[in-house]
Point group: C2
């Protein structure tokens, strides 16, 4: 199989590294993969030894126009040029492997309908959970199950920040700045810390799990920017970790999906997922609870998932249509007004109405922390009005 890789950033270089170094192993496993083109505007990079630099090109059109190329590997990210490239590749009958979560989360109908029409393979295992096998196990290994729910830690940057705050007694801003300096967080980290990246990922998982198309814009999305060290310490003293939890569940015909900072009981495996690691818990009606854990990002881990998809395409995988979810049926999402749960509320003044519905109240310096009984989110927000507050779900 002849492939063209478009985008030689961190993950792209990782994919090159594996394909070059493991070419003999992969061939022994039945996958004879030739990198015909590696495309990037910048050729001034450290390439793996043994990488054939004559395959380097700058114009992706060359790949799209070469009928010899079976499969393109899109690793440029974003959702403009990437979408154009993917649609054009599909039109030309090429398989597409991508790690682009934003693209799949935001434009599944356009992309899937084209891929189904042209009968090509479209795989995107690396788009969720980096190196963790999650999409294929969900679709293939858990195929017997009706999925009841998914719950996970799927943004490594947030988890790293929360872990560092907790282990080193640091405030959010300090850790964020440090992470940005070290390159663990993007120069513009808002995408991660506001929960948007996690929303894209849970959007994909929920769509596959429930076989409906989820509108990513309707997902209840809260980030971790308001979390203080004192929240972590208080939570810890009560037997909880704080994690950014993405969750999706189906009840009758409506689906509730949320990304929320959450108090997770220390006995829960998710509470022990530290640093850049990710974990996804999937509950099926027959299998019960399963959990998939590993590195959610990073050069080699993500490349491991991309290469698995390339191998799958090379082995002429017959699961073609299983990686699409139903684009004919739009998921009915629970709106923010209908969400309810127990909440940890940190706020600068007392609220007699909150006192009534809280099972525990703490005071830290000038702030009050309410642990509410189950309450509708809308009702809670009504009580809090215009006051500034921080909300964490209690799991």
């Amino acid at each position: 199989m002849k492939i063209g890789i478009i985008g030689l950033g961190t993950v792209g270089l990782g994919v090159l590294e594996i394909l070059v170094n493991e070419s003999k192993n992969l061939k022994a496993k039945g996958a004879d993969i030739e990198i015909k083109y590696a495309c990037d505007l910048d050729h001034d990079k450290v390439f793996p030894n043994n990488f054939d630099k004559t395959t380097l090109i700058k114009n992706y059109e060359t790949i799209l126009n070469d009928p010899d190329v079976d499969t393109i590997v899109e690793l440029i990210g974003g959702d403009n040029l990437a979408k154009k490239i993917i649609l054009e590749a599909i039109d030309k009958g090429k398989n597409v492997i991508t790690a682009n979560k934003a693209l799949i989360a935001k434009h599944p109908k356009e992309i899937f309908s084209r891929a189904i029409e042209k009968d090509v393979n479209l795989f995107y295992e690396a788009s969720v959970g980096g190196g963790i096998p999650i999409i294929a196990p969900l679709l293939e290994n858990l195929v017997a199950n009706n999925i009841l729910g998914i719950r996970g830690i799927i943004n490594g940057t947030c988890n790293y920040i929360l872990s560092e705050m907790s282990h080193n007694d640091l405030e959010f801003d300090t850790v964020l700045n440090d992470a940005m300096e070290k390159g663990y967080a993007e120069a513009d980290p808002s995408f991660d810390i506001e929960g948007i990246d996690a929303a894209h990922k849970i959007c994909i998982l929920a769509s596959l799990a429930f076989n409906k198309t989820v509108d990513v814009k309707k997902i209840l999305t809260n980030g971790i920017t308001k979390i203080k060290l004192s929240d972590l310490k208080l939570a810890e003293s009560l037997g909880y970790s704080i994690k950014l939890i993405a969750a999706a569940s189906q009840n009758n015909n409506s689906i509730s999906i949320s990304v929320e900072p959450t108090l997770v009981n220390k006995k829960d495996l998710l509470s022990n997922v530290e640093g850049v690691f990710n974990a996804v818990e999937v509950e099926g009606d027959y299998v019960g609870k399963t959990l998939f854990y590993g590195r959610g990002a990073g050069k080699e881990a993500t490349a491991s998932a991309v290469v698995a998809d390339i191998v799958k395409a090379a082995l002429k995988c017959t699961y073609k249509d299983r990686h699409y979810f139903n684009i004919e049926e739009d998921a009915i999402l629970l709106g923010e007004n209908e969400f309810s749960g127990k909440y940890y509320v940190r706020v600068g003044k007392t609220f007699p109405e909150l006192e009534k519905i809280s099972y525990q109240i703490e005071q830290i310096a000038e702030e009050y922390i309410y642990f509410t009984n189950t309450i509708k989110l809308k009702e809670l927000k009504n009580i809090l009005g215009n006051e500034e507050y921080s909300l964490l779900r209690i799991n």
Copy 2:
């Protein structure tokens, strides 16, 4: 695809249940599966509603002799009759799905060579980790990786016993008897509590991970029968759980595989795997550490994995040869004499020689507990001589 199920015990009935109840769902996913025969000597069972009892037969030969049957599902267990049936089915060109770990662990050469020759699918996902997707993810999703090591809790009975001892302050015998009464442990539990079942499972995982044939008889195998409540309490006070850990790693060309009761640090995810749950950690050179967790046994969870294999065969999976490991190359296993590590030794008298190599020594009633520095297992056993002792690895 027309299938014949042989063996309607717990798992067999679970498979029937899923196939009958989810037939429409599975068909929508591309797998049109017809149960042509369900074979068991005992027909006096509670079958799922809507199950067509006219498919019930007592003689498995009917299935083998019917050219209409594409795929047999062997769920009788054991390694005599099961082997005969599987070999005969393969000879007749039928796919084989099985959950039989003993059979795969003990007779891979005979079975695989026949299946390769006849070019049929042979899947056995349910043989390790019950409902947990582990074999397919290892072979398919982690295909890019050279596997460095595997470490897991893969016997639910042992883990249940250890969890119960720890949570309810009970001694081994008490919990074992209770588990036998409740049916959580077999009438003859020695297979589980002596570590033999775990040895079968790690044998399969190691063979697949390292693509060599492992002789199951050469695996260092220790059970949990000597563990006392006081061991668990002492371990807990020092920040450890005690788990029966099956582990395999490759170093140069030799492979070390062991099943040993082990002190696992509380910060390790494996230490938080409780009750009948299983978990397998796989470390790959690119992906790093991944972990797969779920129900390691039980009717519906195991059936979930069996059905996934049936669906895979129904979808005319092209991964055929990927579920075989190399039967031409025998793994060179580290013998017991070469194993080394830190050990927790409980023994009825003091040993000055042990004192010298221990970093911590405790006394409980009449017994002494040594926490040794890294030592060769052989050397340790020499020191202990004929004295009765209990050994736990320290992770």
